[in-house]
């Protein structure tokens, strides 16, 4: 790095990175429309906006994975054409993605080495990673197997991989969406340290409190355009949110107050073995979810939440039918279709490749989850099971309207939708059935503020109408917003649920750590 004094004088004159009139057109959709913005050296700059606002498109252009249709990018005052991520890295732009690209069966050092040329010595990488990890307060063992690491630790790998290139600008996409509050604090300290060295950080997040805490500048996007830029420290979370969505955000409305009915879902000593080396065994989980209740399961990712989801949904079945009881019927031996026919509905964590087939249209994805539960409507001609396309098209249209799903074509493939819009579709697909029980894993993961509020409100409304709702989430803000009671998952165990009013962040933190032995590992 150049001397600090020089950096400071530069900062006043030429921005590190500046864009002028960046425009990107997909078909007829203006994903970016005349975007102007600038990042100074040594600045943590927030990029705010709803899903589909054009943040990802802009970032992909800066990082070279997309090419703009029009407009210029200036790097230290010079116009540049970034044609690929490797060119971006050579310039000094690094990126940490929201979804990691790591091989679970390899070690940390091996994963890092994979992004370099083949002639790099593994021991050099290992040593360099070790020194960076000490330098920036990111505890990480280069020889550990990635499969054994928590999500927070995996994120550190990505950050260190990025720091290996000695970047002047680091782009972070929703970095805290997978972290515990403590892990997030560690990350923030690292970010402050990087800023002190004169590096710039482009911080994409929808968590407004974090943005206010970290960032000294913010650019706000809506519908592909920059609508405002401000100093987030001088704003309130409410004013930032209303700039993002273009209107005052409605507060979440609780319609019921503690009126609960019959038990809809009961888990009785639910235990499951592991099906692959990185799976978590479920250990004697017992839980009841009643009509009108929203039970939330908190916990750090990778403590058995995914396994619990698949055990309840019936993607993994139980030998003992009594371990899962849906509306009074022993369902442990039943397939996911039969459980759906009992009135249950499911929204998995991964939208693409689990909740939806990316290459298939929304109407096909409607059929995907509802061919059994809506058999009389979606299928005709008896045993031939001919698909009744018009009924499916009508249901898809209904869901898109109710959930305000924004899309660029009449019936686009699921993979073409932004994360928030696809999530609204997937949640809406289940709500449209008026299920008596709904299980949702990470309802608003990577979803913008507007869509998240919409989804949370619809879960509360579902409970208010007399259904039982079970939510698995890592987002404590979300949990406190919607839960009637809270349980915590750690290492395959589930704590007994307590009323949300009696829970605090500290209590949840203690429960998370109670049997989560892996947390101290990295330190």
């Amino acid at each position: 790095m150049a001397g600090k004094d020089q950096l400071k004088t530069n900062a006043k004159q030429v921005p590190l990175l500046e864009t002028k009139g960046i425009t990107k057109i997909f078909g007829e959709l203006y994903a970016n429309n005349g975007v102007d913005f600038a990042i100074q050296e040594g600045e943590i700059h927030a990029l705010l906006g709803e899903n589909g606002a054009g943040k990802s498109t802009l970032v992909k252009i800066l990082f070279g994975s997309l090419q703009q249709s029009a407009g210029e990018v200036f790097w230290k005052g010079q116009e540049v054409h970034v044609k690929s991520p490797s060119e971006a890295r050579t310039l000094g732009i690094g990126m940490v993605f929201q979804h990691f690209s790591l091989f679970e069966a390899l070690t940390v050092a091996e994963n890092i080495a994979l992004s370099f040329d083949a002639d790099v010595e593994l021991s050099d990488v290992s040593e360099k990673a070790r020194s960076l990890s000490a330098q920036y307060g990111l505890p990480l063992d280069p020889d550990a197997l990635v499969g054994d690491l928590s999500v927070g630790q995996r994120q550190r790998i990505e950050i260190i991989r990025c720091l290996m290139q000695d970047p002047a600008l680091i782009i972070l996409d929703e970095p805290t969406s997978v972290l515990t509050p403590q892990e997030a604090d560690t990350l923030f300290e690292t970010l402050f340290r990087l800023r002190e060295e004169g590096r710039s950080i482009l911080y994409i997040s929808h968590r407004l409190e974090e943005v206010q805490r970290l960032c000294s500048a913010a650019t706000i996007m809506r519908h592909g355009e920059v609508v405002d830029s401000c100093d987030p420290r001088e704003e309130t979370a409410g004013s930032l949110a209303s700039k993002m969505v273009g209107a005052d955000v409605e507060g979440i409305e609780h319609k019921t107050a503690g009126k609960t009915g019959e038990v809809v879902l009961a888990l009785n000593n639910l235990s499951m073995g592991t099906s692959h080396p990185f799976a978590i065994a479920l250990k004697k989980i017992s839980l009841e979810v009643r009509q009108g209740e929203v039970v939330c399961i908190a916990g750090i990712a990778g403590n058995g939440q995914g396994e619990l989801f698949e055990a309840i949904s019936g993607e993994d079945r139980q030998d003992d039918p009594h371990q899962v009881v849906i509306r009074g019927t022993d369902a442990g031996h039943m397939s996911i279709s039969r459980r759906r026919n009992l009135g249950a509905s499911f929204v998995p964590e991964e939208r693409l490749g689990h909740g939806a087939v990316p290459e298939m249209s929304l109407t096909d994805n409607m059929l995907l989850a509802r061919h059994a539960s809506d058999a009389s409507e979606f299928k005709k001609m008896g045993r031939l099971n001919v698909i009744a396309q018009s009924a499916i098209v009508a249901a898809t249209k209904r869901v898109n309207e109710v959930m305000d799903v924004r899309k660029s074509a009449e019936d686009p493939p699921a993979g073409a939708l932004s994360g928030g819009n696809l999530q609204k579709f997937i949640v809406g697909r289940e709500l449209d059935r008026k299920p008596s029980f709904m299980l949702v894993n990470q309802p608003t993961w990577g979803v913008d503020a507007g869509a998240a509020a919409h989804i949370r409100q619809s879960l509360l409304d579902l409970a208010a109408s007399g259904s039982a709702v079970l939510v698995i989430s890592q987002d404590l803000d979300e949990i406190f917003e919607i839960a009637t009671s809270i349980a915590v998952m750690a290492d395959g165990h589930l704590s007994s649920p307590a009323p949300a009013a009696d829970m605090t962040r500290e209590k949840i933190g203690l429960l998370m750590a109670s049997s989560g032995a892996d947390q101290g590992q990295a330190a």
Partner: protein, 358 residues
Amino acid sequence: MRIELQKRPDISKLYSILSPLIALALMVVAGAIMFILLGKNPFHGLYVYFIEPLTDPWSREQILVKATPLTLIAIGLAVCFRSGNWNIGAEGQYLIGGMFGAMIPVLFHGWESPLLLPLMLIMGMAGGALYGFIPAILKSRFGTNEILTSLMLVYVAQQFVDWVVRGPWRDPQGMGFPGTKSFNDSGLLPKIFEFGDAHYGAVIAVIAAVALWFMLSKTLKGFEIAVLGQSPRAGRFAGFSAKQMTLFAFLISGAMAGLAGIGEVSGTVGKLDDKLSLGYGFAAIIVAFLGRLNPLGIVAAGLVLALSYIGGEAAQISIGVSDRATRVFQGLLLFFVLACDTLIHYRVVLVSSVKARM
């Protein structure tokens, strides 16, 4: 510097439709070059191969005869390939189907009945399906690679059928030639025309193609096949079982190959002999892809490939090129079909490797 395939953001609809035709055109160009290298006149060579057979009624019928097994096998393979199961052993299922179908007319040789032919066809399908079931069950139970097991079972089937026609089922009056007794008339698929070789197997193939097209594009089963082929995890979420699909897909494609086998035995040869294995099961893989895994497209693709067989026979006689040339044409066609599909979905870019700064 290295070469990379990058996924195209938007895929041209036009090129997707034109792809098989582009592949055919490229094959013709490559074929012309091959003729020049062999010292033959390329225009005459291509004419003999691809135009002349169409001008002669006898050749046209032969095309129909060859297209029948190719189409039947390929439509079964389309179901299999779409579901993400890679059955490379259709040739074996075709042979065992032919052998099973021949079982009743061989073991009960004197029996004449209108029931005989339907029974033979059913037996043929059952034989092919059972033989297809072996790699399917190995895959779904033990996780073996179906490409290897199905392929290896082809060689088992070839040896087994060869032994059967030389040993236990050999016609005692057959002068020692390998082969069973010729079937009675009620064991033969009737001919379509008064004179000539085309038999009703061709009609069965078209009916089967329409039926499978309907299943793939209009029914929930077809949807299940597509979902499991594209995203097994989403398929599990939908309540579909990938393991059961493996069994189903191999049963269907085995049955279709078996039907092709008994069709060939009963419609073309009239007995089971040692010359049943002509490579249709492998050529049908080309047909399936050339027809874009769509049963209706496959009917057309089957005719194209059959043309290359008949043209190849003619070329041996009239211009004296080896029958290997036919194989080369078929291989070129598969290569170009797959290459065109790949280039429609991906673009080739040269990437100069960037040294990491450490």
